[in-house]
Symmetry: C2
Subunit: 395 residues, 2 copies
Amino acid sequence: MKRRDFIRGAAYLAVGTAAVACGLKRGGRVKDTSETIPAQEQDRSPRPYQPIESARFKLSWEPFELSLIHSFTVSGSSRTTTPDVLVRLEYDGYTGYGEASLPPYLGHTVDSVCKFLSKVDLSSFRDPFRLTEIMDYVNSLSDGDAPAKAAVDIALHDLFGKLMGQPLWRIKGLDPTATPNTSFTIGMDTPENMAAKTKEVEGKYKILKVKLGAGNDLAMIDAIRSVSSLPIAVDVNQGWKDRMKALYEMYALKERGVVLVEQPLPKNNFKDLAWLSERAPLPIFADEAVQNLADLKRISHLYNGVNIKLMKCGGLLEAEKMKAYAKASGLKVMLGCMTETSCAISAAAQISPGVDFADLDGNLLISNDPFEGVKIIDGKITLNNLPGLGLTVAG
Amino acid sequence: MKRRDFIRGAAYLAVGTAAVACGLKRGGRVKDTSETIPAQEQDRSPRPYQPIESARFKLSWEPFELSLIHSFTVSGSSRTTTPDVLVRLEYDGYTGYGEASLPPYLGHTVDSVCKFLSKVDLSSFRDPFRLTEIMDYVNSLSDGDAPAKAAVDIALHDLFGKLMGQPLWRIKGLDPTATPNTSFTIGMDTPENMAAKTKEVEGKYKILKVKLGAGNDLAMIDAIRSVSSLPIAVDVNQGWKDRMKALYEMYALKERGVVLVEQPLPKNNFKDLAWLSERAPLPIFADEAVQNLADLKRISHLYNGVNIKLMKCGGLLEAEKMKAYAKASGLKVMLGCMTETSCAISAAAQISPGVDFADLDGNLLISNDPFEGVKIIDGKITLNNLPGLGLTVAG
């Protein structure tokens, strides 16, 4: 057989000496090749989008206050809204959506986001597919501003997928059925109310999350346990101060079916974190300690896993780098969120196939979500087939 | 303005109080938004390929002997051909091409590749876009067989891009202008012949590569220097045995415009590598020491960079993980190759934007390349706009 015939896909594959010698005759593959599709069909191809020289980016944004269904309490504060900025990135008639969610304790404000976005000048960029080039520029505009950068990154990815005509998970080669279950957060409250909230969502989730560190930790867990046998992830938000007490508590939590503990000690208490991680009976995840890849590299030896959030790290490109580094380093990966609309939640969900845990319930905690996107079905993150992030404007 | 109007892209953006407060009035962006493209055009979209339930994968392969233009010498052996296996992966009338290149000293053979490929049963897979799922299966079939796995991975990526209708670099969000120059290897020979070979390619490349370790290293470099002032990367292929002599030689090489040294000492001589890397005046790159991500993690502290090759690591998915890990770890990245056709070279080139060095000249060293793909223009890897790997069958 001529080599060119093999390459061109000619409708025969003679079994030559070399082929026999190396087992080509096995498995019926020689016959298969003779059923090759006719040449005239081989060149049919999809009609892909091509960037056009005359198109320009148009970035716009609007503050948007998220209304929380339940008031939200973490160690020391409580609130009923979350400030947010919605972003639109238009190009050649397509629109990508992004979002910056701004829980007040993180220090970003609607003003700081808008100030950053007003500095973003995309007029020199022509090709919306060059994600790395565009985000390198955006990231160079300041040292911080992760939520604002995330908003641009998310909008850019949504636009990218829409121009490709494909959902982002598909563009990334991921298996949409390999998404994790998301935990659902039972907000801090009296034990009775937490038990009631747990009953409210019975049957809807496969794993719960509880914020601890306020002092009555075991009572809260026991209250949930009285009505549910689901695994529980706990987030201490740096709330424990004593390493011995933390260790004791982790043993007690393990007995109660807790499966992981997020940020048990203050993030800068490296010595006690090292001590605890050597002895802890449950995996310890970094949250406040890790904003981005640089942080992850510095502290990966102190933790068993990391909670990656788009609003902390500045978007999907950085989140994917962190996911790759964490996996390569033997750390478990959780994808987390702030209270967010379905926009940022759907963005994180696109890269969720294959991660170990997800805490992507932020959109379920608000009453005024302007988007529909990924769904939680039987507790599992369920991606759709729509292009980009899979968003539609809520009806 | 109503929030829904902002999201839907209505043709106005009233400057409300919040907008003014956060700087929306700046930068002319409010006016921009009033020029929004009419709603009826907003939904126009490309016609993306959708996997069809009835389609099946068809994998076929053929041994193919690469003819070398110059006989190829590394420390201790010389040859004029390289065994190779070409792979085709067909799906729904589309064909992806892959390749396993098998330099004899690496221990893989045409037989071992064909034996591996005959075990690959893709009949249970329906969705050609699920790269990670398919390659997880392929990788699970044996512990080794990196070239055979690379062949499937490359064919799968070519198919993926063709189904998307886009070049792989675009699907990955990369900037096609950010490709590196490739080094061109001046094969081991007498100093006079090496000078002549260098003159032959004058003006075509921006960086040269020389294999050292045969004993007359500096004479070879001086011979090249007598006819060229280009930077030189040297590859010692573990050929130096004494750390002190290696250090001395690196100083001498630096004086002669050498910019990096690959695998100066035997890969398992960790102690001397650590000693050398603390003192070396040039960056030291791992080649033989690093086949895949697991190796990279083990030895990253001993080197300043790593040469990633598809035939060593088993394909693009693994290579990208290595690239991400190396960059995150502060290691420089070189993309390298064996003698290969334009198929595997074009595959590696797809992920070359942003890497520090490339040694992707393997297709330039053979006389019977069945493909055309990426080109070297003014020494620089130049990607094309064709879908997948950008291959055409050579004319």
